[in-house]
Symmetry: C2
Subunit: 166 residues, 2 copies
DNA sequence: GATTTGTATCTCGACATCAAGATAATGAGG
DNA sequence: CCTCATTATCTTGATGTCGAGATACAAATC
């Protein structure tokens, strides 16, 4: 029969609630489970560099922005899609770890510019190198053709939520 | 160019770290974002029935099991993939809400059987009906052929983490 | 320049989660 | 029937998250 965990759940619903068509549950369920496994694998990789997923998210955003690796809190909020309370908490921890510093924003007395420290720069560069290698391992179960097909399908679906221009 | 948010992130990495091949990041990133959007949509649906995603998870597991809608805490742990501390917390809240009750397990004096109450049964039946309809809306962006292709690809990939027999 | 409105960031309180360790009951061997 | 390893569940402490509201500065208007 080749039933995975998601198929078993669907079979249970079919037995208990035959009035429901649970087809979409398979697609959504597998996608959700896969996302969880991948997030777990990422977290383990980040942890080897002393980073949480939350910390990686912020440091990577600063690193990707290019020199001088500094963004306003507002910019970080827009990119990372967390609330301001969450960002304050993340920055407090990263600052305590010496990976970022808050500098008053010369262009706006209300706010700060958040900048990677030397240590933060070194940490994120090492972490992302490892992270990318890890991602290559994680997708190795699919060949190039399968991965391209999956990319296309995910892209199509994602536009429902994010629009075609991001 | 038709760049979505994930493509923009990849482009930034290509500029800042051209030594890295970030192809897999697109696949994994889109999958992760999609999962987040779907989880958000689910949570909103559950909330209309007074349930959190965590509460839905537990009540649905009990409901799917069939009459008498009772499982040991151990069984719930195995199915829901959370830690025992998390499950204790979930059960405390569901019990306080009158949706489940803990009954001493007659077959093992150390443990409990967790059972849906009448109210819990009514709540989960209403919630799952709505939930399934919601899932149909969420997958509507893909036609049947696309959804089947996606199912197959996700299934292939998922076996890396869960094995082919669940 | 005083008032109003808006914006950037932080504070606070409520939850959810995990990991590690505590508690308590079972069962196997002697 | 003790003792010991095992198992089931709960407790505790650290993180991470959100939402609502506070604070502080800026910009626009009077």
């Amino acid at each position: 029969m080749d039933m995975d965990q998601v198929d078993k759940i669907k079979a249970q619903w079919n037995r208990e609630r035959p009035d429901l068509d649970v087809g979409p549950m398979g697609t959504i369920g597998r996608l959700g489970r896969l996302a969880r496994h991948l997030a777990q694998a990422h977290a383990e990789c980040f942890a080897t560099h002393g980073l949480s997923p939350a910390g990686f998210d912020v440091l990577a955003t600063l690193r990707r922005a290019g020199p001088p690796h500094a963004l306003t809190v507002k910019d970080l909020l827009a990119t990372t899609m967390v609330t301001s309370g969450t960002m304050t908490n993340r920055l407090d921890r990263l600052e305590a770890a010496g990976q970022v510093r808050r500098v008053p924003n010369p262009e706006d007395g209300r706010g700060f510019v958040v900048q990677l420290t030397e240590r933060g720069r070194a940490d994120i560069d090492a972490a992302v190198t490892d992270h990318v290698a890890n991602q290559h391992r994680l997708v190795a179960a699919l060949n190039n053709e399968e991965r391209a097909a999956l990319d296309a399908l995910l892209g199509t679906w994602l536009t429902v939520f994010e629009g075609s221009d991001g």
